[in-house]
């Protein structure tokens, strides 16, 4: 059996683990476009500040692929011939496959702003981005960060640590718009400003000049560095050109198979089921990427494992503040709040179902809440009121503990 994986990151690593858990013999080939092996993108901000060395970016040990007897082909895929079951690389090499996994990931969105292609403008997505930025920050000056999502925040924090003056420009009315409620965003924004970061919300950059950024309110910011962090987009061109069904991302079934029976897809490139919403979403999240890759790997090796879907979940710490949030960011349920100083917990309920929580500086409680969202355990609001008097794990509602016992009893969470 010939397995071919396009992409070498988290989903690919998961897929290799999945395949190998069933098929120790099959021939696995990974096409490594970045030629950097399997590394963890969220760590690049640590790399930028020097807290991590290059080798410490690895998601799996350096010899991981070798250990798993995986052949690494450096290069980028140019096209897929689904009839001949062959992938053509940009250098013209053809690689045949029996089972193909598309783990092509996503790429940063470059907004169509005049002047944005200048050399002092960077995205912040790959380790190469970090190296390039690193080279440009020798002279300490001002950095403008476009977008205040996770990537934007982590970039801002890193640049701040490196001594730059940082200005964040967010088009939406509050920072981390995909993750936070306005109220919690205000708390985060206040925290950033107290640390000296400047946050501009509700405005967008309209043009990029020579070390100058023009904002839509007519002002302009002198900048030595501009980071674009307005979002990512699945790398689904290959799939689309091969005739696979795509939408905002590659469309897969519950076994993570694409519309071609010999091709699976996993990671940031796909649309997958959002458990709470019940719709398919592009959820570019590392934990999901690994899980999808693993299940896709299992299924490529012959299993029929169902991918249950995921939810949005993010843990980010920024300048000492821990923000954890999970669930449906666009939920419109009733909000229960607990706050004590800089710590706050916000639960959004739809009926008896928890749809989202935002935990700021109270990370310890988050795991069970994530589980309750994922499993959509019904808990009346009154129980949550009791819990919120002192939100600690020991005070979680009885239904949670009953659920824990059930996981252990029915093995739905396999514990060893």
């Amino acid at each position: 059996m010939k397995y071919l994986i396009i992409g070498s990151c988290i989903a690919a690593a998961g897929a290799v683990e999945g395949i190998r858990s069933i098929d120790p013999e099959g021939e696995i080939t990974v096409i490594d476009g970045e030629q950097r092996g399997c590394y963890s993108r969220p760590l690049i901000s640590y790399y930028l500040t020097g807290r991590r060395t290059s080798s410490q970016l690895d998601y799996r040990p350096a010899d991981f692929f070798a250990q798993q007897r995986v052949r690494i082909i450096p290069g980028r895929a140019a096209s897929i011939d689904v009839i001949c079951k062959q992938v053509l690389l940009q250098d013209g090499t053809g690689l045949e496959y029996d089972r193909l996994l598309l783990a092509t990931g996503a790429s940063p969105v470059i907004p169509p702003i005049p002047g944005i292609t200048q050399s002092w403008v960077n995205t912040f997505y790959t380790w190469q981005d970090a190296e390039e930025i690193s080279a440009q920050t020798a002279a300490k000056g001002t950095a403008v960060v476009l977008g205040s999502g996770l990537i934007g925040l982590k970039a801002a924090e890193a640049l701040h640590h490196m001594g730059m003056k940082v200005v964040m420009v967010e088009k939406q009315s509050h920072i981390l718009p995909r993750l936070l409620s306005p109220r919690s965003a205000a708390a985060v924004g206040g925290h950033l400003q107290r640390h000296g970061l400047k946050v501009v919300t509700g405005h967008e950059v309209v043009a990029v000049g020579n070390h100058e950024v023009a904002v839509d309110d007519g002002s302009s910011i002198a900048a030595d560095l501009l980071i674009i962090a307005v979002g990512t987009r699945p790398n689904q061109d290959l799939a689309r050109e091969a005739g696979l069904q795509t939408d905002r991302g590659i469309i897969v079934d519950c076994h993570l198979r694409t519309s071609d029976p010999h091709i699976w897809a996993a990671g940031d490139v796909i649309e997958s089921r959002h458990i709470v919403r019940g719709t398919d979403e592009v959820m570019a999240l590392l934990p999901l990427a690994h899980r999808e890759g693993f299940i896709a790997g299992l299924n490529m090796a012959g299993s029929r494992t169902r991918y249950p879907g995921g939810i949005f979940l993010n843990a980010v710490h920024i300048l000492g503040m821990h923000i954890i949030t999970a669930g449906d960011p666009e939920t419109t349920g009733s909000i229960l709040r607990w706050q004590e100083g800089e710590r706050c917990l916000e639960l959004t309920m739809q009926g008896q179902n928890l749809h989202r929580y935002i935990a700021i500086n109270i990370p310890g409680i988050s795991g069970p809440l994530t589980a309750l969202i994922e499993r959509q355990v019904k808990i009346p609001e009154s129980e949550w009121f009791k819990f919120l008097r002192n939100p600690a794990i020991a005070n979680l509602p009885a239904a949670y503990w009953a659920e824990v016992r059930r996981w252990q009893d029915d093995g739905s969470l396999r514990c060893g």
């Binding site: 963890s40 040990p61 843990a315 710490h317 954890i324 994530t370 020991a394 396999r414 514990c415």
Partner: protein, 144 residues
């Protein structure tokens, strides 16, 4: 391997947590030194619920969500099945904390990294919570 907590005999005394805290982070098991000099942190929570109590410790899941979610590969499983954190690799993102359905993994007190039960793999023959439980409510079980 995991620690099984028998709520039928758990007294809720919390000695497990005290000895756990003193065993780690370089306190070498001296309770007085740990608590009088430092800020020791237990690796397990004590749950008291409807007259019952038990210790909320790592199940060392077979398909551990924390390992899958870890962005740095700091969370690993050794060949004894013990899920542990490589402190050198952990950056304290707390993604593992976010995905542990048991709420077992906790941030360190300074939030710089995550801490969890590693069954005292470097310290003692038996996990200190098990050996110090005054009522035998904790057991290290080998089942897989």
């Amino acid at each position: 391997m995991k620690i099984q907590s028998n709520s039928e005999y758990c007294l809720g005394c919390g000695l497990c947590r005290i000895y756990c805290a003193a065993a780690h982070d370089g306190y070498n098991g001296s309770v007085i030194r740990a608590f009088k000099k430092g800020t020791p942190q237990a690796r397990a929570g004590l749950i008291e619920h409807q007259q019952q109590s038990w210790i909320n410790t790592c199940r060392h899941c077979q398909d551990a969500p924390c390992i899958n979610a870890c962005i740095t590969g700091a969370l690993q499983k050794n060949n004894e099945g013990i899920v542990f954190i490589d402190g050198q690799r952990c950056v304290g993102c707390l993604t593992c904390v976010m995905v542990c359905p048991f709420g077992h993994i906790q941030p360190s007190l300074d939030f710089s990294r995550a801490v969890k039960c590693d069954l005292c793999r470097d310290l003692a023959e038996a996990p200190v919570c098990v050996s110090h439980c005054p009522n035998g409510a904790l057991r290290l079980i080998e089942e897989v």
